[in-house]
Each structure stands twice: as structure tokens, then as C-alpha cells.
């Protein structure tokens, strides 16, 4: 039984429908990647899981409970975390304050979670009193992921974690993402770096024009002639 079960989802923004009849599942501790051309609705699919789009039909179930129509803080309570793509840190807050905000819904800052985030991203411990806005893009991405990990979510949604990073940092970021998955957190990741992402994930979805086109294991998609030709640049 899968943990997240998106079934026949139609969603968009206001009157504009972007997704039609999208199916998506993520099992416990699974690492799932959504790839596809620009404007395919990858981010929209992810945001829909988190309740940030206009719902138009279908269902989104988390552990067999319908979560459409819930507000982000309710969904966070369910055990889902979300890291947006851009502007994903509180720029004028320090690194540690950013992390504390991730645990806002708890009465007290969970010290053990804070320690484990610092263990996972040692650079953040070093710079904990630095303003997040003054850090490099890669470090900001770590702050954003660290903040989402403060509640130790069961499912983490990552919107293009490698976007805008220098090529040599992309692999490092993928390593961090792998480490999060190794700790038992299931991942749903949207990626532009399709080949790299598919090589590392358990399963991949190719989304085209708001619809599922291919679903398979990462390796199978990489080896599929049609997928390679059309979406992975040969």
C-alpha cells in the first residue's frame, strides 16, 4: 500500500487547469522523481499535494486519508514537508532561526532534530548565526531542506533542489537528497536534471502537458528509447 496516493487529479490556478487526470503514488521510504519538459505541470503536481493549488477533481490521499482541501499547516501536521524552489529561506533570519521556524507548530524547538539537521549539513552549524539571505544558493537550499526536516516528515516534497546551482554543486546536492532518503524519509522530487535524478531514484514519472506519460523505475526510463529521444536529449 502506498503512503501517498494521487488519483485522477485535476488541478490548476484559479480558472486555469494545468493538471488533468494525474496519477501518482509514493510508497513508504520510496524516492520518486517527476521529470518532464518545462510547463508540463511538475511543480503544480507537487504543490497540489500540499494544498497550494485550486482543486478541480480527483483525490489526494495520504495514508488512506483524503487531504485535498486541507491547509498547509494541517498537511504539515500529517507528516508531509515541502521545500519550494525559489525564495525558500527567510533572508533576514539567521540560519538557526530559519530552522526554528520549521518547527513552529511544536511548542518547543526539538533539540534532537536540530542536532540531526546540523549533523546532516555541518556547514549550517558553522554558520548558524549568519543571516540566511547572505549565504550562497547551495547553502540556502540546505537551510530550506534543513527547515523542512525539523519535523522529521515521513514524506518530503522537494521542488528542484538542484536548480540554479553551479555544476560541481549539483552532485553534492543529490548526495544530500539521497542521505535524506536513506534516513527513512520518502521523497517526491521535481527535477530539471532529469538524467541525474533518474539514475538515483527508485521510480520516475514523466509528466507532459499536465498528464502522466510514462511511469517506471528510474533505470527503465533511462533505457527507454522513446523517453530518451523525447525528454532526455538522446
Amino acid at each position: 500500500m502506498s503512503m501517498l496516493d494521487v488519483n485522477g487529479l485535476d488541478a490548476g490556478y484559479g480558472d486555469l487547469q494545468i493538471l488533468s487526470d494525474v496519477d501518482l503514488t509514493v510508497a513508504e521510504e520510496e524516492y520518486v522523481v517527476i521529470v518532464g519538459p518545462n510547463g508540463a505541470g511538475k511543480s503544480t503536481a507537487m504543490k497540489s499535494v500540499f494544498g497550494l493549488t485550486t482543486y478541480m477533481g480527483g483525490s489526494v490521499e495520504f495514508r488512506e486519508e483524503e487531504i485535498t482541501g486541507r491547509t498547509p499547516d494541517e498537511i504539515i501536521h500529517q507528516g508531509i514537508g515541502y521545500v519550494p524552489q525559489n525564495d525558500n529561506v527567510f533572508a533576514s533570519l539567521t540560519v538557526e532561526e530559519n530552522l526554528e521556524m520549521g518547527a513552529y507548530i511544536l511548542d518547543e524547538v526539538p533539540e534532537d532534530a536540530l542536532e540531526s539537521v546540523y549533523d546532516q549539513f555541518p556547514i549550517l552549524r558553522e554558520r548558524k548565526d549568519q543571516k540566511a539571505g547572505s549565504m550562497s544558493g547551495g547553502q540556502q537550499q540546505m537551510v530550506a531542506m534543513g527547515r523542512a526536516l525539523m519535523l522529521d516528515p515521513d514524506l518530503l516534497l522537494l521542488d528542484e533542489p538542484s536548480a540554479g546551482l553551479a555544476p560541481d554543486l549539483v552532485d553534492e546536492m543529490f548526495d544530500h537528497v539521497d542521505a535524506i532518503n536513506d534516513n527513512g524519509t520518502a521523497l517526491l522530487v521535481v527535477e530539471q536534471n532529469a538524467k541525474k535524478a533518474l539514475r538515483r531514484c527508485d521510480r520516475g514519472y514523466v509528466l507532459v502537458q499536465g498528464q502522466n506519460r510514462y511511469v517506471d523505475s528510474g533505470d527503465a526510463l533511462l533505457n527507454d528509447e522513446e523517453v530518451r529521444q523525447q525528454f532526455l536529449g538522446g
Binding site: 533576514s92 533570519l93 532561526e97 521556524m101 520549521g102 513552529y104
Partner: protein
Amino acid sequence: MSTVDTVIDRGRGMTTEQLLLLVVGLGAFLLLGDLIIGILNGTYSISRVARYVVEGTLYGLIIGLAGIGLSMTYSILNFANFAHGDYVTSGAFFGWGVTYLVAGWGAASFGHLVLVAPQRGVGGAQLEIAITSTPFAIMAGLLVAGIGTALFVYLIDRIVYKPMRGSGGIPLLITSIGVAFALRYIIVFVYSNRTRGTTLGGLPSFDLLLVDGWVSIDVHDGTLIVAAVALMLGVHLMLQRTKLGKAMRAMSDNRDLALVTGIPTEQIIRWTWMIGGGLAGSAGYLMVLWTGTIDWQFGWLLLLLIFAAVILGGIGSIYGAIFGGLIIGISMHLSMVWLPGGDFTTITAFLIMILVLMIKPSGLFGGKTTA
């Protein structure tokens, strides 16, 4: 390249902005020079200049204190609240009603006291209201001004602004102008339009002989300084140390991100209104304590100066609001060295605001949002 060429090149590279900065700097330098020479050769009395600085600082503290709330609501709700000045007036009336009640219990009817003597009759002087003679009445009044205004502002948010959440800055701004008018004339309706004295004159003061005259700071000036600085420090600690304060800063940084992080944004907005309103009410109460008079529109008249201070400091920054308030207050009073005083000092306030905006459009503390 010869030196001459370099100079010409540098001249060509100079923007109008830099030219303006040069002119303003030169102007400021000339005024400062005139002030110093005038003091040295006796044209301007040292004690008079010192009095202006002291009065300006006190006025600046009030403007800054009231400005914090305006800046906070701006940074979190993204609109300039024109009703803020009338929150200041409302708070003053709430607080002074309680002060009259405590200080003059039994001396006049309940209605007369709680409405701050709307008709002639027993007033502040007869009740001998001063921090030395009726300290408890004043502390109770300040407390009620703060808490009462906080609750009142929360109520206004629930009725007026909450249904409009997310409608953008302009509709909210225009609505707030409506709220300002409604409040102001409700104040006239309830409290009357009479200007009245609220405190006893001839207060004990600390006098300092400064070469050619006295500079005195009386007990109400002292009360204003202590209360205003304590409140400002309180806000600073709240923003930097508490969970609520950090969440307010987070929200002012990025409201959408705050929402997906699980910060209960509606709750933070509520607290922002209440804290901003409480500070506005306290500022109003202290202003009346300081000037010794209260009327129905002093907050509205103060609002333009509050805006000048907040914009000057960089809207959205509470430290900018405090700093801007002090600059506006001091320069307004200091300009009386050259200007005849009265409403002319307002020219100084807005001239400084215009110049700062031309040179640094984001304000002195601009770009650094600190809630």
C-alpha cells in the same frame, strides 16, 4: 592618462544622484557651520539650541514609538494604514479616561471622568494629575491606553480588514482612510471636540545651567523617556528573542514561505495588529502627558509626521521608524533656530523626507526588513 582627464572622467561619471547628495551635504554642512559659528559668537544661545534638541528628542520618541506599529503592519500586511493616527488618539482617550477616573474618583460624575471631561468642569489641573501627585492614575492610564487600544485595533481588524485579507495594498489603504474618518468623528461624537488641559502645571524638574540659560527636563519629560525607551526595548527583545517575534520577521520576509512552513499566519497578523495598536495607544497617552492637552485630532495631525519618520527610516523596519522619528523630531525643533517656529517646522520634516527619498529611495534602513 593625465590628472585632468581623470578628473573630467570622474565628472562625467557623476550621476544626478551624487550631485544631489553633494548639494544636500553642502547645505547641511553650511547650516551646521552657521550653527556652530552662531553659538560661538553668541548669535544663537547655547541653552536655546540645547532646549530644541531636548524637545526634539522627546517629540521624536513619540513619533518613533507610534511609527513602530505603522511599520510593523506595513511589513506584514503590505499596506500603509492611514487609520494609525486615530489609533493614537483613541488610545489617548481610553487611557486618560482611566487616569481621570482613578485620580478624581468621586470628584465628578463617572461619565464626566471617563470621557475625559467633555464639557467644562473638573479637569486635569483641578484633579492635580501629574506623575508626582497621582502616579498610580497615570500608570493605570498608560496600561489601559496600551491594552485597550490593542483590543480595539484587533476588533477593527476582525470587522474591517480581515474580510479583505489578500485584496492588495491599494484597496486596504483606501479602506483605512475610511476607517480613519469614521474613528475620528466617532471620537468627536463620544468625547466632544473640546481641547482640554490634562495635567498640572509647574512640575518639579531637573534644571541644568548651560552657559547662558537653563535647560530643564520635568518629571513628565522623564516619564516619557523612560516609558518610550522601555517599550522600544521591549519590542526589540520580542522581535529578536521570542518565537512570535521571529515568526513576525519571517512573515515580513516572505509570507508565502511562512505559510508553507506551517506558521499560522492569521494568528501572527492578529498579534501584529495588537502590538502595533498597543504601541500607538501608548504613544498617544504619553504625548498627552507630555503636552498636557488632548483633542480629537492630534493623532491624525501626528500621522503625517509618523509617515515621514517611517518612510525616512525605511518603511518596514522598526529600527528605521525609531531612528526616523528622532531625526524628524530633532530637526523640526532645531530648525526653529532659523525658522519662526509653529507650523513652519513641518516644512523641515517633509523637506528632509523628500531629500532622503531622492538620495536613497528605500529609506535609511531600507532593504533590511526587521519586521
